[in-house]
């Protein structure tokens, strides 16, 4: 009897230790995702990963950078966390090209923890990125894309529409219309030439302009293109002159837009041709680059409200970055980020230990259901195509380059609000 007691007193501790060690391997409770396209499970100690696709190289880098800054300001607003999970951005450069967007979005898709994407800067990049992102079950909100192809054209689904794509930037379908109306009605133009760069954004604008201009009775005497990266614009400008156009609509990005303007100013025959570009050139850097050559040039761009919110945002911007914003598009990015964060917060199921389960389709559904979201750019209501802002376009004219962007933004020549 004594022997048994001794043996057990030796063996029992060993068994207990073994049981204790075995107990350490507590299996996790399994969450059963019921979302039709899956869930993102964020462990308690893991961040919420947000992809950021922006144009961060080339002349348009400033636009992309501003988008990021708008997002960062939004994160600040959220104190860097959603439901106690830090927000982490995975920033990728699209190079403002379709292929750039296509490749960059792969990096987001590759990581199953990516909850959503904020981007892109350029619509061309958005077209490829949205396609891939949508197929992968992600959600993307852009604060800068305006190409009608991405959402809807004429109230119908556009060719490059993809489920899960949203934007807080206005659909440019009405930008071309605004430009045409102003040219035809206010400037009396009857023959117009257009130069795009093949990008869906620029093509979308020229197409919008053509449709509206021709409807008004005007004639498009030349539709030509330049390639991104082209520097020598004389031949295409010669073609404009040859077309006897009174008006040249060239919704290009920098630096092609810059080259067109600067070289046109030096060419004989352009003295009487009115030049108009779009919002992509409504930027401080452009004004600085063209200076006096930009005088008299028109721009069609979205309307941004001048209110306390935007002022407050500008102040925050300046405080954070020690400089003034070079455009107003960062506000759209800010709104896009806020809209996304709030939607995530809405759909996320949080377990007691802090684990989050974010349904991908739920997130999309919440975004599509967005109504009267209070953004700095106004009240946001998303339609079935992903357009979340009601577009109002202004025609601006650069009269005083020295007044800078602010001067330009305020020099509104015409404002167009489409019918709802």
């Amino acid at each position: 009897m004594k022997t048994q007691t001794v043996i057990w007193s030796l063996i029992l501790p060993v068994i207990l230790v073994a049981m204790l060690l075995a107990g350490c391997d507590k299996s996790k409770q399994n969450f059963k995702c019921s979302d039709s396209i899956g869930c993102v499970n964020v462990d308690p100690d893991e961040p919420i990963k947000i992809g950021v696709l922006q144009a961060l190289s080339g002349k348009v880098a400033s636009l992309g950078q501003e988008q990021i800054q708008g997002i960062e300001l939004a994160i600040d607003e959220w104190n860097g966390k959603i439901l106690d999970h830090p927000i982490v951005l995975q920033v990728e450069d699209t190079g403002c090209s379709a292929e750039g967007g296509a490749n960059a979005v792969l990096k987001m898709i590759a990581d199953p923890q990516t909850v959503a994407i904020l981007g892109t800067t350029c619509s061309d990049a958005a077209a490829t990125a949205a396609h891939a992102m949508s197929d992968a079950g992600l959600t993307m909100i852009s604060g800068n894309n305006s190409a009608p192809f991405l959402t809807s054209i004429g109230g119908k689904r556009a060719p490059d529409w993809h489920s899960g794509y949203f934007r807080t930037a206005p659909n440019d379908e009405n930008a071309g219309k605004a430009a045409a109306m102003y040219a035809f009605r206010e400037l009396g133009i009857r023959k117009a030439a257009m130069i795009n760069d093949g990008d869906i954004y620029t093509v979308g604008l020229t197409d919008g302009f053509r449709n509206a201009f021709q409807k008004l009775g005007g004639k498009i005497v030349l539709t030509s293109s330049v390639n991104k990266g082209d520097k020598k614009m004389q031949p295409v400008l010669t073609a404009v002159i040859n077309s006897e156009a009174q008006f040249l609509f060239f919704p290009l990005f920098q630096p092609e837009g810059n080259h067109i303007l600067l070289q046109a100013r030096k060419m004989t025959g352009f003295e009487n041709i009115i030049l108009m570009s779009d919002g992509s050139l409504i930027e401080e850097s452009f004004i600085e680059a063209v200076q006096e050559n930009g005088k008299g040039m028109y721009f069609v761009g979205p309307h941004y409200p001048d209110n306390s919110d935007s002022d407050s945002m500008n102040m925050k911007y300046e405080t954070k970055y020690n400089t003034s914003p070079s455009s107003t598009y960062y506000l759209s990015a800010y709104d896009a980020a806020n809209l996304l964060f709030q939607s995530i917060q809405k759909v996320a199921l949080q377990e007691p230990d802090g684990t989050l389960h974010i349904g991908r389709q739920s997130l999309r559904d919440v975004l599509y259901a967005t109504k009267n979201f209070k953004g700095v750019t106004g009240s946001l209501t998303c339609d079935e195509f992903g357009d979340c802002v009601f577009p109002v376009f202004n025609i601006l004219r650069l009269d005083d380059p020295t007044a800078g962007l602010e001067g330009l933004r305020k020099n509104v020549m015409f404002s167009y609000t489409p019918e709802k």
Binding site: K2, T3, V6, I7, S9, L10, V14, G95, S97, A98, E99, G100, A102, N103, A104, L106, K107, I109, A110, D111, P112, Q113, G198, S224, S225, V226, N227, D230, K232, M233, Q234, P235, V236, T238, A239, N242
Partner: protein
Amino acid sequence: MKLKNGIFQSRQSMSITTKFGLGFGLLLVLIVIVAATGYLSLRSIRDAEKSINISTEIQRLVLEMNSGMEKARRLHGDFFLHYPEIGLAEAHEYYAQPSVRQIAQVVTISKTLKNMVAGLMVSDAFKKSHVDLNLYLSSARRFADTSILSVELVTELAAPEKGLEALLDKHCALLQAEIVKDNKLEHLHFEMKSFVKDYRIARKRFLMQSAFNVAFTLRKGIGNSSLLTRDQKNRGFIQLDRIINIAEKILDVDVAIKSKFNDFALQESAVTPISTTLVKLAGEEVAQAQKKIAKTHGLATIIMALITIAGLIAAVNIARILNRGITHRIVRLTETAAKFRKGNLNVIAVDEGKDELSELAMTFNSMAANIRELINNLEKKVEQRTARLAESEKRFRQLFEHSSSGVAVYEPVGNRDDFIFKDINHAVEVIEGVKREELIGRKVTEVFPGVVESGLFDVFRKVWQTGQSAHHPVSVYSDDRLSSWHENFVYKLPSGEIVALCDDLTTQKQAELEKQTLEARLQRVRKMEAIGLLAGGIAHDLNNILSGIIGYPELLLMQIPEDSKLRKSIKAIHNAGQRAAAVVADLLTVARGVATAKIIVSLNSIITEYQNSPEHQKLQSMHKNVNCITKLDPNVHSIFCSPIHLKKCLMNLLINAMEAIDGKGHVDISTYNRNLDERSAKKKGIKAGEYAILCVTDNGSGISAHDLEHIFEPFYTKKVMGRSGTGFGLAIVWNSMQEHDGAVLVKSSEQGTSFELYFPASKQEIASEQKKAGISGLKGNGEKILVVDDEKQLRDLAGRMLDILGYDVKCVRSGEKAIDYLQQNNVDLILLDMLMEPGINGRETYENIIKIHPDQKAVIVSGFSESDDIRKTQQLGAQGFIGKPYSMEQLGKAVKEAMSN
């Protein structure tokens, strides 16, 4: 100090089981720790090794994937580089398709990698890289898609005949054909083409735009040209529109192609870091795993070393505790027990503990005390018992040794097919005539080869097998050395040994046999004597009668003239009397007791004499197919015998032998000597000593066992009585041999019969042959002879014959008369008949006569008489003897001899 004392005391009070339990428990814990450390170390190393293998494999796959991607890109680049030179078709085959195939492989590898990384045996860093691998996989797929699209674009652009560039050239040529008449226009056309050409080289859009601008001027020129017809102008416009349209498409395609190139560049920039990272990660993983192995190894070594030291210390302490608490005390107790065992019964085990050992020590002391007491009693009892045992042993040994029966102990050997002697008592030595030392350890069959034949060996085996005792009844045992009668009782001992109790019944058996032989012989003698008595009586009477029949004719013949006619008839009566006398002689031989004349003779000479006799010649002539072979030993002993009887014996044997042979055969006659010892002689019923033997052997049909018992009886014959035999032949042989103190031995089988006649050898010299004296030589000289015979006729005949012979004869009719006469008178010789009636017989008469005349010579006459009487009479001094019937010559010879003695 208090604590130490407390521990010591508690240790003292612990039971042995608890001490052992604690000691081995501690060791068990150490062993468990060592095993756990070893197990964990091995598992850790195994995991690390697995990690190394996986990492190495990942590294290899990444490099392979990267190399594949690189190759695909290079092939794709080569396609764009070489298609203008070698043509699209070949460029497709050599570059585009291999590129796509290559990328397909890359996709496969990246999938494999993805799965591998998703496995359990990779580090977290690796696991995180699955994102990169997803990207790599997506990029690879994109590369494939982009690559195909770019090739399609190039095909659209550069395909021969149908490609945009070919179409552009074609329409330029068509346009040129329309405007060829107008030099100015042709110049513009050339200028446009130059821009197009420049564009094709530089792929700069503004060059094509310049061409468009020239085309604008050309269009105007065509419209304004006076050299062209309306149709030419229209066709020129159409061609120009087509050229511009195609050129715009070319521009779009070029943009798209450029976009694809950008795409490739981006893809490359996306995946290159991934592969670099993965290779680096794999390398780090390997390094980390190696580091882990080294660390585990080091840690395990340290732990093992520490445990070993701890184990050693623990083992030493346990050993010390066990030594002090158990071993030392056990040794002390053992030493005490050893002293006790060696006889020191007064030792006491000392142990101060409180455990089982101290209990044991106390028990030992108690037991030792009891044992001391018991031993004291026991020693006395042992001495008493030992003495009794020794006495008992001695008694049983004496019983064994002094038993009149032989007692032998056997042990089975070999495959139980023989037994060896383990022990024997003295009686066995006596019975078997062997010494104990000669038997012990030897096999039964070796020492007594006849044991199997006697059946005793089977009894041994049966008893050994069944374990049940058995009786082997009286049986004869014989071998070269021994011939004896035994009776055995056999039984098995619990030890498995066999014991045989043997009683020697040889003496009894021999006595019985001898008795039987003697009885048989006596019976035969009596039988013969009865027959003899009968025959003797008849013979006596016949002889008396025959004496007249032979004697008177002889007297008549002497008296009648030679030419008398009566002579023939009287001779015939005389011969008939003689033949009758011969028959009576045979009868007398059978009757024995007949007085026979024995002399020392050579056996061989008797045989030779017989063989030369007319009887033998006649016999031989009757059996011509039987060859008679004689083998006579020249050194054969002389014998003292009656030649007449010997010859009669030989003759009868030869007659029987020859008649036994049916057809051809042979009869052997041989002589030889033989020395008979007591035993052999006893068997034959004769005395030991030298014998001369006559042997007659034939190869005839032999004698049956039944006949063999009766052949020597008179009148027993297988022949026709009266024709070839008298029934006396072998009876004569037997009786003759009895008369000669010899024996006859017969052996018969289907191969023939042999008769051996044993004659006692005589050392006397052979008597010289006496010559026939003839009547004249037998004549007396008036000597006075008294004839005593109760038969008047014979008295008268004898008186007349003696008278003729010249003697003075006086005849009296009885013994009494003869005594009376001699009391008054002296005679030279008395012719005394032995058997006279009434009155005294011849012996009694002679006894009385010698009382008167002590040296009175006498010739005894007897037809038949008890031989003893004759012998006694002869011993008294009556020298001569003559049998009835006798001739005058025989009478004269006998008287002459008696007179001369």
